[in-house]
C-alpha cells in the first residue's frame, strides 16, 4: 500500500530527529510543553504598575510613530475623534467597529457620520477597539471578530484605535493567557493583530518611509 506524503515525511523526520529517545518519552515532553506553555524570559521593563505601564506604552508607541492621546472617559471619545479629524483636515466620516463600548459612546452628539461594517477600501478613516496593548514595545493588540472586522486595521489611510487604560499589560504573554481563558486552550480568533506604529517601508535605498500598504496614521485614544 502506498503511504501518503504526510506519513512519508513524518516517518523521515521522526527517524532523523528522535536520536534514540523512545517515542513515549518524546510524546511526554511535547505534551508537557504544550500544556504548561512555559513563559521563558519576560523583560523587567514592562513589569511595573498600571500608571507605569500606561506611561511606557505611550512612550514606546510614540517612538514607533503612533500618536497617543489620553482622555478621561468613553463619553469624551466622540469629541476627541471629531477634533482629531478636523485638525487633520479630514472629512468627518468614520467606519467604525461594532464593539459595544464604541456603540455606547455618544457619537450622536457630534457631526460625525458613522458607518459600521467591513471596509471596502474607500474609507479614509477607521475606528476600532483594541483588546489591549503591550507596554514593553508600544504595541496594540487588536482581535478580529464580528465586532472588529480586520479590514478596519489595514485598509483606511488613518487608523484610530480606542484603548482602555485598564487593558495595558506589560508584555505579550498576558494576552495569550487571556485568549486561552476566552476561546479555550489551543483555540484562537481568526487573527490576532499586534500593531506597532503606522505602516512603513525601507525598501528604497534603506530610507524609512511611513505609509506603505497599511495606514499612514495610527492614533490611539487611551481611555481612563
Amino acid at each position: 500500500m502506498a503511504t501518503s506524503p504526510r506519513e512519508t515525511m513524518l516517518a523521515r523526520i521522526r527517524q532523523a530527529a528522535a536520536g534514540g529517545v523512545s517515542q513515549a518519552e518524546r510524546r511526554k515532553a511535547v505534551a508537557a510543553r504544550l500544556a504548561e506553555h512555559p513563559k521563558g524570559i519576560v523583560p523587567a521593563r514592562g513589569q511595573i504598575d498600571r500608571e507605569g505601564r500606561v506611561a511606557l506604552f505611550t512612550e514606546m508607541a510614540g517612538r514607533a510613530g503612533a500618536r497617543v492621546q489620553r482622555i478621561a472617559t468613553y463619553d469624551a471619545l466622540p469629541g476627541a475623534v471629531a477634533d482629531w479629524l478636523r485638525a487633520a483636515n479630514l472629512p468627518a466620516e468614520v467606519i467604525m467597529s461594532g464593539d459595544p463600548r464604541l456603540a455606547a459612546a455618544p457619537f450622536e452628539t457630534t457631526a460625525l457620520s458613522i458607518r459600521n461594517g467591513a471596509s471596502d477600501g474607500s474609507d479614509l478613516t477607521g475606528l476600532s477597539h483594541a483588546e489591549g496593548a503591550i507596554a514593553e514595545s508600544g504595541t496594540l493588540v487588536v482581535l478580529s471578530g464580528p465586532d472588529n472586522p480586520n479590514s478596519l486595521n489595514y485598509l483606511p489611510d488613518n487608523h484610530l484605535v480606542a484603548l482602555s487604560a485598564d487593558d495595558v499589560e506589560g508584555a505579550m504573554e498576558p494576552f495569550w493567557q487571556r485568549l486561552r481563558m476566552h476561546y479555550g486552550e489551543g483555540a484562537m480568533p481568526r487573527s490576532v493583530n499586534l500593531i506597532t506604529g503606522p505602516s512603513r517601508s525601507a525598501d528604497i535605498e534603506q530610507t524609512l518611509l511611513i505609509g506603505a500598504h497599511g495606514p499612514r496614521e495610527l492614533v490611539v485614544f487611551l481611555i481612563g
Binding site: S4, P5, R6, M9, L10, I13, A16, A17, G19, R26, A29, V30, R33, L34, H37, P38, K39, G40, I41, P43, A44, M60, A64, G117, A118, G121, E136, S137, G138, S144, G145, P146, P149, N150, N153, Y154, W176, L179, G186, M188, R190, S191, V192, N193, L194, I195, T196, P198, S199, S201, A202, D203, I204, E205, Q206, L209, A212, H213, G214, P215
Partner: protein, 478 residues
C-alpha cells in the same frame, strides 16, 4: 531560480566591477548594523533571550515530527487544511491545484523565501496564473525580472533612480510627466497600483515566520502591512512554510519575536505581527474563506541529526549577511541561489548539494561576526568549515589547491624540512619584491593579488628571528 552558485567566482568578479551595485552595497552597514546594536543594548535581557531562543529551537527540532502532527491537528480543528510537500515540485503542484480549484487568474503574494526556493512565480506564470508580489522590495525586483539579493531587504541592490525608471516603464498608463524624484512618491505609486491588484486577486500567498503547534497558527511579520492585505483580500489564504518554522507555543513564539526584529531591523517589534488561525469564522464580516498551509521539507529532514541541524534554527533575520564583509563586498546575487551570506553558504550546499555550491563555504574571512550577531547562535563559521572538510574529502577542490595543500602538509609534518625550505624562500622573495617590498602580482596567486598586494617576507623566517632574539635577550641578561 536559475542556479549560478557554481560560478561564484565569476559572479563575485562581476559584482566588484558593478558600480551601481557597489554604490547600493555601501549603504548596508550604515543602516542595519548600528540599529541592531542600539536595539540589543537597550534590552538588558537580550543575551539571555538569545539563549532561550536556541533552547526553544533545539527542543522543537528534536521533537519536530510530533509538533508538526500537533500543528496539523489544530489547523484542521480551526477549519483549515494542511498539505505535505516533500520537495519543491510537490509544493508547486499543491499550490497550482489550489489555484485551479478556485479558478484563480491572479494571486497576490507577500514576501516569502520559500516561494523563491520552490520557484513558484515562474511556475504559476507558465500555467497562466499571474503572481503579484506586494512587498515593495519584491515588487521592484519582480518588475526588473530579478531575484532578491537579501532575505529581508530583497531590493537592497537597487538604487532609487533605477526604481523610478522601472516604475515609468511598468506603469505606462500613468501620466509620463509625473514627478517621481522623491522616494515617497514612488511608495505612494506602488501602493496605488497594488491596491488595484489586491482587488483583482483570487488567492493570497504568504510565508510564515513561525508556525505555532499549540494553536495551529501562522505568525506573519511585516512592516508594510502587505501580508495582512494579501490574506484579507485574497479570499483563499495559502501559507507556504518549511517544516523548521514550528515552535511549540505562543509563549515560545514571543521569546523568538523579541530577538527577531531587533536582530533584523533594530526595531523592538516589526509594525505588524499577525497570528492567524484558520479561515474567517462564520460570523466574521471579512477575511479569507479558505486557509491552507503547505509544509515543505525539500532537504531539511536530511539535515536533522547531522552537524548541520543547527542551521535549521535560523529565523531568517538577515543579521549574518548585514555583518558579513564578504556579503558587503559582493552583494547577494553572487551567491547564486536563494539564500545569500553566511547562512546561504551553509544552507545552499545542504539543500542543493555541495557539488554545485562548493565555492560558497569558502566565501568567508572567518572573522566570526556572523556567529556573534546570530540571534539563535548558529556556529556559522564552524559549519562552513565542515563543508570545506567534506569538500576536500570528496576531491571537489581544484587541482592546484589540492597539490599546494598536499605539499604544505608534507613539509609541515617534517619541521626540519619546513625550516630549511622557508629559510631558502624567504630571502629569495624579499629580493624579488624589490624596494617596495610588496608583490602586486604572483604566479598561482593571481586571485589573491588582484585585489591587494602581498607584502614580501623580510628576508628571515620567523624561526630564525625568534632564535636570534632569544640569544640576544640571553646575552642582555647575562
Amino acid at each position: 531560480m536559475h542556479l549560478t552558485s557554481p560560478s561564484f567566482k565569476e559572479n563575485s568578479a562581476r559584482a566588484l566591477a558593478d558600480a551601481p551595485l557597489q554604490r547600493a552595497l555601501a549603504k548596508v552597514p550604515l543602516g542595519f548594523i548600528d540599529k541592531r546594536r542600539a536595539a540589543a543594548d537597550a534590552l538588558p535581557e537580550f543575551e539571555a533571550l538569545r539563549d532561550k531562543a536556541v533552547e526553544i529551537k533545539n527542543h522543537a527540532l528534536k521533537h519536530l515530527d510530533l509538533y508538526l502532527e500537533a500543528f496539523a491537528e489544530k489547523v484542521e480543528a480551526a477549519g483549515g487544511t494542511v498539505h505535505w510537500a516533500a520537495d519543491a515540485e510537490a509544493a508547486r503542484a499543491i499550490v497550482l491545484d489550489l489555484a485551479r480549484k478556485r479558478g484563480a487568474k491572479s494571486v497576490t503574494k507577500s514576501k516569502s523565501m520559500i516561494s523563491e526556493e520552490i520557484e513558484l512565480n515562474d511556475f504559476l506564470e507558465q500555467n497562466g496564473i499571474q503572481p503579484v508580489e506586494t512587498d515593495l522590495g519584491e515588487y521592484i525586483i519582480q518588475l526588473r525580472h530579478e531575484h532578491p539579493s537579501h532575505i529581508i531587504a530583497p531590493a537592497i541592490h537597487v538604487n532609487r533612480d533605477q526604481v523610478e525608471a522601472d516604475f515609468r516603464r511598468a506603469h505606462a498608463d500613468l501620466d509620463p510627466q509625473r514627478d517621481l524624484s522623491d522616494p515617497r512618491s514612488l511608495l505612494a505609486e506602488a501602493r496605488q497600483v497594488l491596491r488595484r491588484r489586491y482587488g483583482e486577486a483570487d488567492m493570497g500567498i504568504t510565508g510564515a515566520n513561525f508556525l505555532v503547534a499549540e494553536t495551529g497558527s501562522a505568525v506573519i511579520v511585516t512592516n508594510e502591512g502587505n501580508a495582512d492585505l494579501t490574506q484579507l483580500l485574497g479570499k483563499c489564504h495559502v501559507v507556504i512554510a518549511s517544516i523548521e518554522k514550528i515552535v511549540p507555543t505562543l509563549e515560545d513564539a514571543s521569546q523568538l519575536l523579541r530577538v527577531l526584529a531587533r536582530s533584523a531591523t533594530g526595531q523592538d517589534m516589526s509594525v505588524y505581527t499577525t497570528v492567524v488561525t484558520g479561515p474567517k469564522r462564520a460570523e466574521d464580516l471579512d477575511g479569507p474563506e479558505e486557509f491552507h498551509v503547505v509544509l515543505l521539507d525539500n532537504g531539511r529532514s536530511a539535515m536533522l541529526g547531522t552537524e548541520f541541524e543547527e542551521a535549521l534554527r535560523c529565523i531568517r533575520c538577515g543579521a549574518c549577511m548585514n555583518h558579513c564583509p564578504v556579503y558587503q563586498t559582493i552583494g547577494g546575487h553572487a551567491y547564486g541561489w536563494v539564500y545569500p551570506g553566511p547562512i546561504g553558504a551553509v544552507l545552499t550546499p545542504s539543500l542543493i548539494g555541495v557539488e554545485d555550491a562548493a565555492h560558497l563555504p569558502n566565501a568567508s574571512t572567518f572573522c566570526g561576526r556572523c556567529e556573534e550577531v546570530c540571534p539563535v547562535r548558529i556556529p556559522l563559521p564552524k559549519l562552513m568549515r565542515h563543508w570545506r572538510e567534506r569538500e576536500f574529502e570528496r576531491h571537489l577542490q581544484p587541482a592546484p589547491m589540492r597539490w599546494g595543500l598536499g605539499l604544505w602538509a608534507f613539509a609541515a609534518r617534517r619541521p626540519a624540512l619546513y625550516r630549511w625550505g622557508t629559510s631558502l624562500v624567504a630571502p629569495l622573495l624579499s629580493r624579488m619584491a624589490g624596494k617596495k617590498q610588496r608583490f602586486s602580482s604572483l604566479p598561482l596567486a593571481g586571485g589573491w593579488t588582484k585585489g591587494r598586494d602581498l607584502p614580501a617576507p623580510e628576508g628571515k623566517t620567523f624561526m630564525q628571528q625568534w632564535a636570534e632574539r632569544r640569544s640576544a635577550a640571553g646575552k642582555a641578561k647575562a
